[in-house]
Amino acid sequence: MSQEKANLKENEMTREGFDPHILGFFCHWCCYAAADSAGVSRYQYPPNVRVIRVMCTGRIDVRFVLEAFRCGADGVFTGG
């Protein structure tokens, strides 16, 4: 059962050179749009976030967030 955790690379367990896995839940109308707009302006930001688009932050279920952590997310960023 804890196989997936064992798969975590050694260097990820330490803080130096640690590259976190982050899951984002972005609202289609606000944060997702802001993220697009950041792209249009060619802003640069760290490439650690993988995004799941939802129509509204109200769609986010407690179990999505907990499941993300269970699946190895070091952080969950919800953006409305």
């Binding site: 196989q3 997936e4 798969n7 896995h21 899951l23 289609h28 997702y32 749009a33 993220a35 697009d36 707009s37 950041a38 792209g39 249009v40 302006s41 060619r42 802003y43 640069q44 930001y45 490439p47 993988r50 995004v51 799941i52 688009r53 939802v54 129509m55 509204c56 109200g58 769609r59 986010i60 279920d61 407690v62 179990r63 999505f64 499941e67 993300a68 269970r70 699946c71 190895g72 997310a73």
Partner: protein, 949 residues
């Protein structure tokens, strides 16, 4: 705005001007000249390479000349048309036949210097003039040091400075030294309320935007010290006065009521001197001065008037009347927005919908004769039901993606994912030929799920969905991975990380795609008639417009006759006889075959949803049932009845409407009137009604002038807080002062009092200029009592429509949907929405009629496919979803004697609050199901994590 670019029935002719207009209403021919863009709109992918390579700098007018761009550019990222264009005046290729660099760098081959100007002859039934407003002449600004002192800026420039996406990224800096200023002064009425520059009117919007800009500036730089110099603070819009009050308190803005005559520079600082209304003189130094520039008539107003053969008013705005605010002097030509008179966004949007109704009335018989409707082949349900066969298309977007992300590696990675049977890369997947090829490949390979790894679904999903529909697949069967806007562009310094991220995003998209289900695209038939509630000016206007547009409507009025507040009015603000406006409306209502009037009737209950409402009304004690597709709320409001001021105790004290009724009956009572005293803001702005009632200032001055006309020797005194004669009503204010009407400002903590003196009465007040108490014996005291909401609470409950804290109906969006109610199928106009003048009520009623007719004209209401669905087997009827739904789109029904939730598909907006709060996971969101999202989460983990939930 994006919708306008996408509608097949809106043809945008950019870089174009009207050259001639011939013909007659219903049959005009408009000649339009169009300059080339030199960039093919269909080929341009908005990558920006041309701007990057162009050697020719151009000042950026979009950023108020604060920035530099290049000859080929786009005004702003979200511009429509969404393609770049070449500024022909600056381009070296256009002017000197040299350079051509951009054409060489454009991989999409979109740049085309062979484009020639086009001449169009357009057959149109009607013309709408909405050219906007012009800018105040720079000579006016120069009087305030603009151009001479770098730290004197216009409000337009300041707007761009406060904008996060503007040239300074929202940092407020002084142009002279790029340092953050400490003290800023806003000077109001620059080019407004100023006869010396020919603009005697009030520009209406500057007070609001100045407060907004000052507030935003304070958000950016909390230490700023900001003073605003007003003549009067004119925040008369709905909810604006309260917002101003809050902003003033929250940000500590200094409001000074004075007009600053000039700006001088002293030791690098800007010196202002002013006199307040107590006669005292003040001066101070500022780091920066913002000129709140007014709205002028459009520069080309004269030529438009000539071309369209319409008349302008004395300020070169379009001439209209209070009874027909959207009609020009020529039939078939209508006007909306600032060209009709200075106005803010909600008013402009309202007028825009209003003119749409006017054109729709005129051209009712030719509705749907020129429009294009798109048809699609029937959906291939068999192939959709097969095991997922996924095709992944990874887009290069020229170098936009491929310049950073290893597209071929991502493509091959996609091939390794379960369910993927086809994986390809495309140069520009959104180009017409690529779309065609994608469609062919879907067919060839019998694909039933598609993943496009390219740009944002927000902008491009509709395009790919369209492709699916065109070959008989449900549009919901596509998923996009945003590897451009949210990956390649923002990680261009880290190509390896960007490639890894792209793979992850594609893996997540494929995982979701495997579970995608076709979504129904239901439509519901619309009962093709309307209900209008309220028989005042707004209700009657709305009913007539709906009827003229060809639909039947029932007009329900609770009183015994039609007319509402209009029947008490003597004159309109532009001096027309109000009863002639009323009579003409009443006659049209009575004679119209499409209108059925129900007097002494009230709505008891309404059920159903947009397209199909069933309403029960109580008509003189009898119950009647009406079926209708839409409803307009025009329930009006009432004149506020104050306590105090001896009102109701002494017959010399009356309200403005009571005065008008008296004046209507005869002027004899004015004979011995020596002094008439009017008191503004009795009730409004704090005492009993929190809001500003908007029109009392203009109404009081109108009545005062009327008294002066019939009894020139009568002295008239008006006690006021701010005179809010916005727009062209400012003319009334000026005329009043010229005719010797005395205006006395009072502060809310020193309100005038009405007192008994012997057999007569007097008004006690404070003269701020003289600095002393005064007492004016009054033959008449007229109170401007303001407008209180009607009894909206019951009706609001029946409809489930929200009310404002003041008790008026709340619109769906203050700026963009000013006549719609949050509940679909309900529209709003007149005083029920908030205080406003007759012309504004009429324009709004027309707007409500336009919005109401849209579903009727379509005959069907499309239901958005992303809706919730309740599995009634697992639903326990707890009602949590019903109470949390922001749109009343879930109701509880009895199924086999048990309570079960049910989505009202037509009302659902797809937020998913219900699904995330259902105790038994019984609710599924189309396109965003629990399974789909969980699959994305598992894919995020790299498949190392199995389903646990």
């Amino acid at each position: 705005m994006v919708e306008a670019g996408r509608s097949p029935n809106i043809e945008i002719l950019s870089n174009a001007r009207l050259e001639a207009l011939e013909g007659k209403p219903g049959q005009f021919v408009a000649r339009v000249h169009q300059e080339p863009r030199f960039i093919d709109e269909d080929k341009c992918t908005a990558c920006g390479m041309c701007t990057m390579y162009c050697p020719r700098p151009v000042v950026d007018t979009y950023n108020e000349r604060l920035e530099v761009t290049r000859a080929p550019h786009i005004d702003y990222a979200q511009a429509i048309p969404s393609s770049y264009y070449i500024d022909a005046k600056a381009c070296l290729r256009v002017n000197y036949e040299t350079c051509n660099l951009c054409a060489q760098t454009c991989t999409a081959k979109a740049i085309d210097f062979s484009q020639k100007p086009k001449e169009h002859a357009l057959e149109v039934g009607a013309v709408v003039l909405a050219p906007g407003f012009g800018r105040v002449d720079s000579s006016v600004l120069e009087r305030f040091g603009y151009g001479r002192y770098p730290d004197v800026v216009t409000s337009y420039e300041f707007e761009r400075l406060t904008c996060a996406s503007g040239p300074t990224e929202g940092h407020i800096v002084r142009p002279s030294d790029n340092k953050t200023p400490r003290k800023i002064a806003f000077l109001q009425c620059i080019g407004s309320r100023d006869e010396t520059c020919g603009n005697g009117y009030c520009s209406t919007v500057c007070c609001m935007y100045a407060i907004k800009e000052a507030s935003v500036a304070k958000e950016h730089e909390p230490d700023l010290d900001i003073s605003l110099f007003f003549m009067d603070v004119r925040t008369q819009g709905k909810g604006f006065d309260e917002a101003r009050q809050r902003a003033q308190e929250k940000y500590g803005l200094h409001v000074i009521r004075a007009r600053v005559p000039r700006v001088e520079q002293v030791d690098g600082m800007l010196a202002l001197t002013w006199t307040t209304d107590d006669g005292k003189s003040h001066s101070d130094l500022f780091d920066m001065v913002v000129l709140s520039v007014g709205l002028d008539s459009p520069e080309d107003a004269q030529s438009i008037a000539e071309l369209a053969d319409i008349k302008l008013n004395h300020y070169d705005f379009c001439k209209t009347t209070a009874g027909a605010p959207l009609a020009t002097t020529r039939e078939g030509i209508y006007v909306a927005g600032a060209f009709q008179g200075p106005k803010d966004i909600p008013e402009s949007v309202t007028q825009a919908s209003g003119v749409a109704a006017m054109a729709s009335e005129l051209l009712a018989e030719s509705r749907n004769t020129c429009t294009i409707s798109v048809t699609y082949p029937e959906e291939d349900k068999a192939i959709e039901a097969e095991e997922p066969r996924i095709g992944v298309f990874v887009c290069h977007c020229g170098v936009n993606i491929a310049g950073t992300v290893d597209v071929k590696a991502v493509r091959d990675y996609a091939g390794s994912l379960p369910g993927v049977v086809l994986y390809e890369d495309t140069l520009y997947s959104c180009s017409q030929d690529a779309l065609k090829s994608i469609a062919e490949k879907i067919k060839e390979n019998r694909l039933n799920r598609v993943v496009i790894a390219a740009c944002s679904p927000r902008t491009h999903e509709p395009l790919f969905q369209e492709t699916l529909r065109s070959i008989g697949l449900n549009p919901a069967l596509i998923e996009m991975a945003n590897i451009r806007d949210q990956c390649a562009w923002v990680h261009s310094q880290e190509p390896e990380a960007a490639t890894e991220k792209s793979k992850d995003l594609v893996r997540m998209a494929v995982a979701k795609a495997r579970l995608l289900e076709p979504l129904a695209q239901p439509t519901v038939d619309v009962t093709p008639n309307a209900l209008v509630i309220g028989g005042g000016a707004a209700g009657m206007t709305a009913a007539i417009s709906i009827a003229d547009q060809g639909y039947r409507c029932v007009l329900v009025e609770k009183g015994r006759k039609l007319g509402g507040n209009l029947s008490r009015l003597a004159w309109t603000l532009d001096g027309q006889d109000a009863s002639s406006v009323l009579d003409s409306l009443k006659k049209k209502v009575k004679d119209h075959p499409n209108i059925h009037v129900q007097l002494e009737s009230q709505v008891e209950s309404i059920s159903g949803y947009v397209g199909n409402f069933t309403t029960t009304i109580n008509s003189k004690g009898k119950t009647k049932v009406i079926n209708h597709g839409v409803a307009v709320l025009a329930t009006g409001a009432r004149e506020y009845k104050p306590s105090g001021y001896l009102y109701g105790e002494n017959n010399r004290v009356m309200t403005q409407l009571e005065l008008e009724e008296k004046l209507k009956r005869g002027k004899a009572f004015l004979k011995n009137a020596r002094n008439v005293v009017m008191i503004q803001c009795v009730g409004s702005r704090g005492e009993d009604l929190k809001h500003c009632s908007r029109l009392c200032c203009s109404q009081a001055i109108k009545n005062a002038l009327m008294i002066k006309e019939h009894s020139p020797d009568t002295n008239i005194y008006i006690f006021f807080r701010d005179i809010r004669t916005y727009g062209f009503h400012e003319d009334l204010y000026r005329e009043a002062r010229e005719k010797g009407i005395v205006f006395l400002r009072y502060m809310p903590d020193r309100r005038p009092e009405v007192v008994r003196r012997g057999r007569g009465i007097a008004v006690k007040g404070f003269d701020r200029l003289m600095g002393e108490d005064i007492e004016i014996p009054a033959s008449l005291v007229v109170l401007s009592t303001g407008i209180a909401p009607g009894d909206n609470v019951e009706l609001a409950k029946v409809i489930k429509a929200p009310l404002t804290s003041d008790g008026f109906f709340l619109e769906a969006h203050a700026k963009l949907r000013p006549v719609e109610v949050a509940v679909d199928g309900f529209y709003l106009c007149g005083l029920a929405h908030g205080p406003k003048s007759l012309d504004e009520s009429i324009a709004q009623a027309k707007a409500a009629a336009a919005k109401a007719v849209i579903p009727l004209a379509k005959g069907k209401v499309a239901v958005a496919p992303i809706v919730s669905q309740v599995d009634q087997k697992t639903c326990i009827g707890c009602g949590i979803c019903e109470s949390l739904c922001p749109f009343n789109a879930i109701r509880l029904v009895k199924v086999n004697k048990r309570r079960k939730a049910q989505t009202i598909t037509a009302s659902c907006k797809g937020c998913g609050i219900c699904a995330s709060h259902c105790p038994t996971l019984a609710i599924s969101m189309g396109g965003f199901t629990d399974q789909e999202i969980l699959a994305q989460i598992h894919a995020f983990s790299g498949g190392k994590c199995e389903d646990e939930a």
